[in-house]
């Protein structure tokens, strides 16, 4: 009897898992298939196949300019967040000072504060600085939200390193910075790389800060997509969505690869 109940429970679990997967993945598949449609309106399944919407994305300034801005913002935010977040993680992991735990909580807080609250706060901060509507507002805003993510990932990478290695480096004649550069950073390089990948994605996908801080002049790709959905649904959106999905898969794949390399390296 208990065997029956067990297998019934397991079947239910499988069903639930499968349903979850379908609901998560089905929309993506529908969008990807639709993007190859030739008709000037959305249709599923496609009546004729073409690449016209992809061509439209790459050829019209309406789409490609925001895409290039998004790329620029994501690269700047990635660089800023990776440097700041990595140093914060190293300081938290290796430093010995009072209030460390409190500082750590403070530094991860942008991850738990609702994004709208962050956006509003930055809006009021940037307004008197005349930063609103400039790419700089987005560089700064996205760096702020990506930094804690980098910090958390690098901290977890640091946990698997041996602090004695840095002490050894010091005793062998390396000053603090050279020990950092030659010993600590190589040991956590995979964590830093995967953190950078996530930072890039967080910025590239981000729409709330882009709306609040970008104004009419600094329009990122997600913001342009959002605007375009409000009036009419341009099938170019499906092509862009497909490209974004591909980008995410590529970047996450690279991050996962870096992680597994690190795991193999840290194993004895």
């Amino acid at each position: 009897m208990s065997d029956d109940r067990l297998s019934a429970g397991r079947a239910l679990l499988w069903l639930f898992g499968a349903a979850l997967l379908v609901f998560l993945i089905a929309p993506i598949i529908v969008v990807v298939i639709t993007s190859f449609n030739a008709t000037p309106y959305l249709a599923f399944p496609p009546q004729a196949l073409s690449l016209r919407w992809y061509r439209n994305f790459f050829q019209s300034a309406h789409w490609i300019d925001p895409a290039l801005l998004s790329l620029r913002v994501a690269l700047v935010a990635m660089a800023g967040a990776t440097v700041l977040g990595s140093f914060a993680a190293i300081g938290l992991a290796r430093g010995r000072f009072r209030g460390k735990r409190g500082l750590e909580l403070f530094l991860v807080s942008p991850m738990v504060v609702p994004i709208v609250v962050m956006a509003l706060g930055l809006y009021f901060l940037f307004s008197p600085l005349h930063l609103l509507g400039t790419p700089a507002a987005l560089y700064l805003g996205h760096t702020v939200i990506a930094t804690p993510l980098v910090m958390v990932i690098v901290l977890s990478g640091l946990r698997s390193t041996d602090p004695a290695a840095e002490l050894a480096a010091r005793s062998l004649g390396a000053n603090y910075w050279r020990a950092l550069w030659h010993v600590l950073i190589p040991a956590i390089r995979p964590a830093i790389l995967s953190a950078a990948a996530f930072a890039f994605l967080v910025s590239f996908d981000e729409v709330v800060l882009a709306i609040f801080l970008g104004g009419p002049d600094a329009t990122t790709l997600p913001k342009r997509m959002w605007e375009s959905i409000r009036f009419e649904i341009d099938p170019t959106l499906t092509a862009i969505s497909s490209l974004l999905t591909l980008l995410v898969l590529l970047i996450l794949g690279c991050a996962e690869l870096a992680r597994s390399l690190q795991r193999r390296a840290s194993r004895g």
Binding site: A164, A165, A168, S171, L172, A174, N175
Partner: protein
């Protein structure tokens, strides 16, 4: 033995480390002679690592001074002290090959490439790892990794080598082999070594001198034999080897001899120090191997065998004597030594010079 304050390879003056609400190292004075192998021995938490970390420059002392070959290095950054350090878990750089690990201190000193290659090869040769330079640390056994750490700490000709429980992670056989190797290297290179361990056997086999630490202070500093035969207090007597420690008082007799009278009335013959009056109250320390079974029936301390354990090279007896006192006796298992069985009534022999008197 040098007095603190005179020039040794390493001199510690009133070295102290306070942590909030806790004294980890409590004003240590120590002078290590050039070429000496000195061991800091002590139970876990006695401040050995903290002392070593202050000498290496990783932990700033609260007060006191550290002198290396006569020059104070107390405020100096670790990379400017020219001290080799070997850690318990080796602390090799996992992303560098064995040769790159050993080359690291020379690269940091910006030595020419040819000189580096030559020194690295010589250092790997010294620790018998020639030919393994291209391996990564994780491709080596624990013992080999420890040799790499040693080569790396020696390759830049440091003025002092510090080792913190370097053999703690190795199994017993490998540990014995590495102890031997370390002694060989010490002899060949003539380098000054300060070695930390909580393993008294390791300290006894390797050291020229031992500093026995307890609660952040040095209880006794001296040659191994001094500490074992002439402990200055109860802690030293009980930490090193096995001891029978009996509380009581001393009754002088003529000819530099006397009686030690335990609380329960047991009387034991002792030799008294000519220098001063006997301590009172007093402690008597008797090493188990100094006790034996008496030949005649009339003389000796009467007792009963409560328990015996055969341990291979010797047999360990627990013998109840007068006044509710139990003494441990170790008798070698050879044809010359007498045996006894459980429950036997025996008489114990003790040479007056073999018992060591302490202030109680």
């Amino acid at each position: 033995m040098q007095e603190p304050g005179t020039e040794g390879a390493l001199t510690l003056r009133r070295l102290t480390k306070h942590y909030p609400g806790f004294v980890a190292v409590d004003g240590i004075d120590l002078s290590v002679a050039a070429g000496e192998f000195l061991t800091l021995l002590g139970p876990s938490g006695s401040g050995k690592t903290t002392t070593l970390m202050m000498v290496a420059g990783f932990t700033p002392p609260t007060s006191g001074d550290i002198l290396l070959n006569g020059r104070s290095v107390t405020g100096l950054a670790p990379e400017r002290r020219n001290i080799g350090v070997v850690f318990q878990n080796y602390a090799l750089f996992p992303h560098m090959s064995v040769a790159e690990n050993v080359a690291f201190p020379l690269r940091m000193r910006r030595r020419p490439r040819a000189a580096i290659e030559q020194k690295v090869a010589a250092a790997l040769d010294l620790v018998r790892l020639a030919g393994l330079g291209q391996r990564l640390p994780r491709q080596l056994s624990g013992g080999q990794q420890q040799r790499v750490a040693l080569a790396r700490a020696l390759v830049f000709d440091p003025e002092l080598l510090l080792m913190d429980e370097p053999l703690g992670a190795l199994d017993k056989n490998l540990r014995a082999q590495m102890q031997f190797e370390l002694k060989r290297l010490h002899g060949e290179l003539g380098i000054t070594i300060v070695y930390v361990t909580h393993d008294q056997e390791e300290a006894l086999t390797m050291s020229d001198r031992v500093a026995l630490m307890n609660k952040g202070a040095i209880e006794q500093l001296g040659a191994v034999e001094d500490l074992y035969e002439r402990p200055v207090n109860r802690f030293v007597a009980e930490f090193l080897g096995e001891s029978n420690v009996i509380e009581g008082r001393v009754e002088p007799a003529p000819d530099g001899l006397g009686w030690f009278i335990a609380a329960g009335g047991l009387r034991l013959p002792v030799r008294l120090d000519a220098a001063g009056p006997p301590p009172r109250p007093a402690l008597l320390v008797i090493r188990p191997e100094k006790l034996g079974f008496a030949n005649g029936d009339a003389s000796g301390i009467p007792g009963t065998v409560r328990e015996l354990v055969y341990v291979g090279d010797f047999t360990r007896y627990r013998i109840g004597v007068e006044g509710g006192i139990e003494l441990i006796l170790k008798a070698p298992n050879n044809r010359h030594s007498r045996r006894a069985g459980k429950g036997d009534t025996v008489r114990l022999a003790l040479e007056p010079g073999d018992a060591h008197l302490l202030a109680g």
